[in-house]
Symmetry: D2
Subunit: 302 residues, 4 copies
């Protein structure tokens, strides 16, 4: 039974490009970490060591920087599509390109009370994400976010759950619920203004998280996903992954003190992890049923 | 077009259990970080908020600790299979369980020159990994490792590659090659002694990395994978993911100094990323062609 | 020459306490990571192993949670002082207590456009810090912040610097300047409203960073520190530590492209590091000249 | 009361240099992360923005690479001293230089059972450290390590401690004790073979940790420090910092199971932190009493 090469891909990970748009005195900044993974005719590169089909990862890095000038960066979606198309269209040996982007957003810094023209403040770990897969003539785009950290100090229950011999958890009708949301959504058609669309999705996610009296994180994620699909017809599917950042009410009765939902120990590990896909019943949105190309650029559930 | 719930799973991530085997004065230590993800009949938990089918993630954590005593930990493979089977067999609402384990290994500390009975030293970031998927009656097991950091100070070339308009890299016949290997391999039959099998695979990976005069990291990974499949008939497939930790020879001619492969700048980002699957030509090893269940427990290429 | 015990201290690091203030329907959240280090009569604990003078670190953790209820958390300064005083005043064997606090701030989440009563959003890595040292009857308080990430896309020069045989850097009159500021300031008198005082200092730091046409990061830090001391008479001293997050303009001429300050490679390591202390000339603010107690609770320059 | 500039320093942090010694076919590799901080006549750089006294941090980076060739790297101590002396002796405006080095050690990889000439394996997070301060004509050297992770599965007690109203911890005569040791030691005279000296100190630390029946981590650290000072006359002082990585015995009685020291929950935060200085009674070892210059290059207790 011969040993053979199977799937393979290669690329340049985490090229950190910052693009300043300085056509006017009021600058804009786009701050992107870009990774490319290419597939194609690379069997010889592995089996004989012949690299003649291999575009070096160093070249892929250069291409990211060159395209930040040539194509510009009007949105991470536009930039990722331009890069992916380039690798598939312009490099003969490449049949498929996966581009992932994480964008850190900068806000205008207030200087003497006024948002400044060329000074920006970040301080956030929230990342806007894009994943693009180009295969031949087709282009698949996911938008998303990670590090959206949310907390409800009340309005969250967890009770009526299954009990087995290893269950010690007490049911509760009032707990703190906190999580760091990762989400990806798939467009049936790419929106004309990806920045505005992103803001709208994020606003909906936050609003639904806060507005729902939660019976479980599962229910909250389902409602968040449903809210996004109700809001925008051009989103075919959304996937959410949310660690449950446990806030344990501390038993202060040892010290003669009451604790009516006031003092919590926020723990790191272990943590619950809830993952949910919400989609439209009829998958007739221009993609094959399993949507593999759209998700191939990103690992994991989301 | 109705909005519906799609795939979903939930569980407890990163329960850190340490098991001391103290049947004799010469103790053994198994140090595992365990994550469980369950699938099953959880639609109501999302859509109506009814949690009666949901085994709390807190219970899953308790089960990890209880099974460390009940089933013991003779290998991470045995422990992960026992846990996964329990969730599927003993919890009515669970149809599929994914268990991932990362094991940190402790070595006996030398005390006055002699390996000690109950003192251990760690200091390594290398992790042995196991991923198990149980679906109904079938059990799928992957073994693996991450953080195996290797470096060759010579015996590595990269030349003859594709050149396009964005290529500035110079070909080289002598470079430093360094990487941190992540690998997963799929057993056609689970070995009787998983610890010995693990050590054999790891030894082979290191030996092939070092023994080959490398023409590219792609070729090195292919030979490493091929070596493992040649060594053990019971491994059906291996996947390797390897960042290229670039070591850039510093141009010292500015300062009137030569640099014949002696002084390097080791960079963090961006980095090349090479991912390869090596398998047997005839997939007749008791698994469906796409092997999805085996890999579902772990995100990404590997 | 006998071998003796020198300085020693011990405590509980990184107790993560979240306090919900729920006296009305409009909740408040204080989210603190608290560390305590105690000094005192602990020689026996080391030399003979007699622990009778040692308050367990587990007790210190309990005390953090109990004081979150007993003393409440109206500001991290008030909470740290209360804790430190307790350890020195109420535990006989403790002569000095150092408390450090990092506070993550939560903002009200907009739900349907309105800031919500009990839903909060975080997403920031910026941390407000407090370090308190109580020694006998005296109390020393530092306030501060870390992770304040700032960027200017123009208005920054670096030229006229010292050149030696190892210098290859070109002078520039227009560069991107970015940094992640860590700052600590020492109060001559503790402000009545520490939250308002903190906001004022942070606003001043951002405003001075943005408002100055910078000739070097050193100059910027000096002006930021000076601005804070000009703004508030009750601050005796400020120390700033700022990594220079280099943004390297990419040479696109290889590809026939111009790059007039538009495309940058943001690098991680190595990075410049600038550290500055700004203080009032006359140290007559109620502290000994070297201010050691105030700074002992925190390691490093800041 | 005028506002003035106080202490200040600047430099280049975390230059990652890898030096291959390839004089014979049997290569050696030294892998160092180097940081430099300079003090001197830099008031104008801050106050007027005049940079004529400032050696750019970029030049400091270049100097690290150039000295890896010019001076070579026979030990991190020799390299750090050479760099620090250069900055003070050769750059007019510099009066004091602090150099810190972290060395990652590579071991020869076994290839077909034999340690290889030019292939190395790492996988460890343990770091050897050096901190050097040169002020005018004097040179101060600290050697050390961090990330030495040790565990005893028995032979460790903690009982007889102080009890107050917030104490809930139960005393124990048999627990798991684990820690990640950071240590720094000060030489009265620099050893001729720093590599051999380092190995000897590390061996002693491990041996004492394992050999002692521990009554507390305080006692263990004291004995570790004492062991080092007994072993080597040329070490004047050692400081140790050790987080207590708590291993909590899980209460399995809920599930009808016994747990006689077999199943532990290893927790991350909060953690105990013990810090100890051990030194010779008579400080007559050629340094001023407070030893400030030796420790200035490194922040914190150790």
């Amino acid at each position: 039974m011969a040993i053979v090469l199977g799937d393979n891909q290669y690329g340049k990970a985490e090229t950190h490009v910052v693009r300043v748009i300085r056509d006017t005195a009021r600058h804009e900044v786009r701050d992107l970490v870009v990774s490319s993974l290419l597939r194609g005719d690379f069997e010889d590169a592995h089996v004989t060591g012949d690299q003649s089909a291999v575009l070096p990862t160093d070249t892929q890095k250069n291409t990211v920087f060159a395209y930040a000038k040539k194509a510009g960066i009007t949105s991470p979606e536009q930039f990722a599509v331009a890069l992916a198309r380039h690798f598939v269209d312009d490099v003969d040996t490449v049949t498929s390109a996966h581009i992932t982007v994480g964008e850190h957003r900068w806000e205008r810094a207030p200087v003497d009370g006024t948002p400044h023209d060329h000074t920006f403040v970040q301080g956030t770990q929230e990342v806007r994400t894009v994943a693009v897969t180009v295969e031949g003539g087709s282009t698949h785009v996911l938008s998303g976010l990670s590090g959206l950290v949310l907390l409800k100090s009340t309005g969250s229950e967890f009770r009526g759950f299954l009990v087995d011999e290893f269950t010690t958890l007490e049911p509760t009708t009032d707990r703190v619920m906190a999580t760091s949301v990762t989400a990806r959504w798939r467009w049936s058609t790419i929106p004309a203004d990806p920045d505005a669309a992103y803001d709208e999705v994020r606003t909906t996610l936050v609003s639904r998280f806060g507005g729902l009296h939660s019976l479980a994180l599962q229910q909250t994620l389902w409602e968040m996903g449903r809210g996004v699909l109700e809001m925008r017809d051009d989103i075919a599917e959304i996937r959410l992954s949310a660690p449950n950042r446990h806030h344990i009410a501390v038993d202060l009765s040892w010290f003669g003190l009451e604790n009516p939902g006031e003092v919590f120990h926020a723990t790191d590990r272990p943590y619950g992890l809830i993952e949910v896909q919400v989609l439209r019943e009829d998958g007739a949105d221009g993609e094959a049923p399993d949507h593999a190309p759209a998700w191939r650029a990103v690992p994991g559930f989301v």
